[in-house]
């Protein structure tokens, strides 16, 4: 196979890869933060908040990512009049999407901490917030590492969907080069390889962190 088309366009493709990584980084940060809050709201006891969180999680989990992106990019501006750029819409859509899945992982992580831990925390005189932040969360977060990295790998792959609304991330850049040179075989092979390396690398990082911080042997 002749990969010269990939090498000739390497700077452009590398730029696309940088956008992919940047998007994934932003979404990992935003999605984890929102997912944590949403998961806490979902596991908490405030009735209104809890039900709102359940509704949001179930709605998002029943909707395809592409449709969420279209809603943010096309449908919301049609109603509100405010337009996002394609990149903003993609990042907002990804965060809105992945945080619902992360929230479910947070919920099961919180539920996996034995009740006795919480009770012991209260017994030694900690208040609600201290029990959550000093006793429950540190244990829950460690148990959540494999599930969280599963979501991170998933959203790294999902960033490719941004190309559909015209963001020039890795997939968009590759398709643009292909439209000019029409060499789909080497270009798509390189594209698949790049995602594989990034995704597999991320899951290896997750496994390493899990071995290092996991409490269950």
């Amino acid at each position: 196979m002749d990969f010269s088309v990939v090498i000739r366009n390497l700077p452009y493709l590398a730029q696309g890869f940088a956008v992919t990584l940047e998007t994934a980084g932003l979404v990992i940060l935003g999605g984890s933060l929102l997912g944590l809050l949403l998961g806490l709201a979902r596991s908490g006891h405030m009735p209104g908040v809890r039900h709102a969180a359940i509704l949001y999680i179930e709605l998002i989990r029943g909707t395809p990512l592409l449709v969420v992106i279209f809603l943010v990019y096309f449908a919301i501006p049609a109603v509100s009049g405010h337009r996002f750029t394609a990149y903003q819409a993609a990042v907002i859509g990804f965060i809105a999407f992945i945080c619902a899945y992360i929230a479910e992982d947070v919920r099961s992580g919180l539920a996996s901490v034995p009740r006795g831990q919480r009770e012991a925390g209260f017994a030694i005189g900690l208040n609600d917030r201290q029990v959550l932040c000093l006793v429950v969360l540190p244990q829950a977060l460690r148990r959540m590492i494999p599930a969280l990295f599963g979501q991170f790998v998933r959203l790294l792959k999902f960033t490719s969907v941004a190309s559909v609304i015209g963001v020039t991330e890795l997939t968009g850049a590759t398709l643009a080069v292909n439209a000019r040179e029409f060499k789909p075989v080497p270009l798509l092979t390189a594209l698949a390889l790049a995602y594989f390396v990034a995704g597999y690398g991320l899951s290896l990082l997750g496994r390493w962190l899990d071995r290092r911080y996991s409490m269950i042997r």
Partner: protein, 222 residues
């Protein structure tokens, strides 16, 4: 800000919406059948005793699931365009191979969750390895695997929306064409969202109903 909704538009396009829904469902069902065929083989290989087979299964799983579905679709549609496969078939193949990797992992962990003593006991009581798998391991593994497979099917229905990108006229594609015909963007995308919610909720309710009393919580098995 004055925005008036016009939901009547959707009624005029009901035929397209329903045919898009039908395409989404057939795409997902055919994709699921393919994914099960590939995934069960790869899962059994991955849980098996043969080292080369395990390696082949693991390579397939890691390759297929670390590459975005969108790239799978483009590989079949663009890179293998010499095969001249229809877009719908490209969609089915991409979904089957991509989701097959997830099925393989579900099946593998299901088989491995059956304690080794079960197999040893089956062999000791005179069953052949094949019979041991068919009558002892499989029924136990199935109960553990079935709920995850139902979840995977919901995921597959949602993933099938990406086939719109290679011009398969499924639900999301229909939503886009209603939007460009009428400029009723919000109504069009809300409508297809509702269709997806119906499909996904339907699958999970059906699974709950079908697995009533059959699926077993792994912690409650003994």
């Amino acid at each position: 800000m004055t925005f008036s909704f016009d939901w009547g538009v959707l009624w005029r396009y009901r035929d397209q919406l329903l045919s898009g829904f039908a395409v989404t469902l057939s795409l997902s069902i055919l994709g699921l059948i393919g994914a099960l065929a590939i995934g069960i083989l790869a899962g059994i290989g991955g849980a098996g005793a043969s080292r080369p087979l395990r390696l082949v299964a693991a390579t397939y799983v890691e390759l297929a699931r670390n590459i975005p579905l969108l790239v799978h679709l483009y590989i079949w549609y663009l890179a293998l365009s010499a095969l001249r496969l229809p877009a719908f078939l490209c969609g089915v193949l991409a979904l089957a191979i991509y989701s097959g990797a997830y099925v393989a992992e579900i099946v593998r962990s299901g088989i491995q969750s059956v304690p080794g003593g079960q197999r040893a006991a089956a062999l000791a009581s005179g069953l052949s390895p094949r019979q041991a798998f068919r009558h002892v391991i499989y029924p136990q593994a199935f109960r553990i695997v079935a709920p995850s497979l139902a979840g995977l099917f919901s995921q597959l229905i949602k993933d099938s929306s990406l086939a719109s990108v290679i011009s398969v006229a499924e639900l999301t594609f229909v939503g886009g064409s209603i939007e460009s015909d009428t400029f009723r963007t919000f109504e069009a995308y809300t409508a297809i969202t509702v269709f997806y919610l119906i499909a996904v909720t339907g699958v999970s309710q059906l699974a709950l109903w079908g697995l009533r009393g059959r699926a077993v919580d792994p912690a409650m098995r003994y």
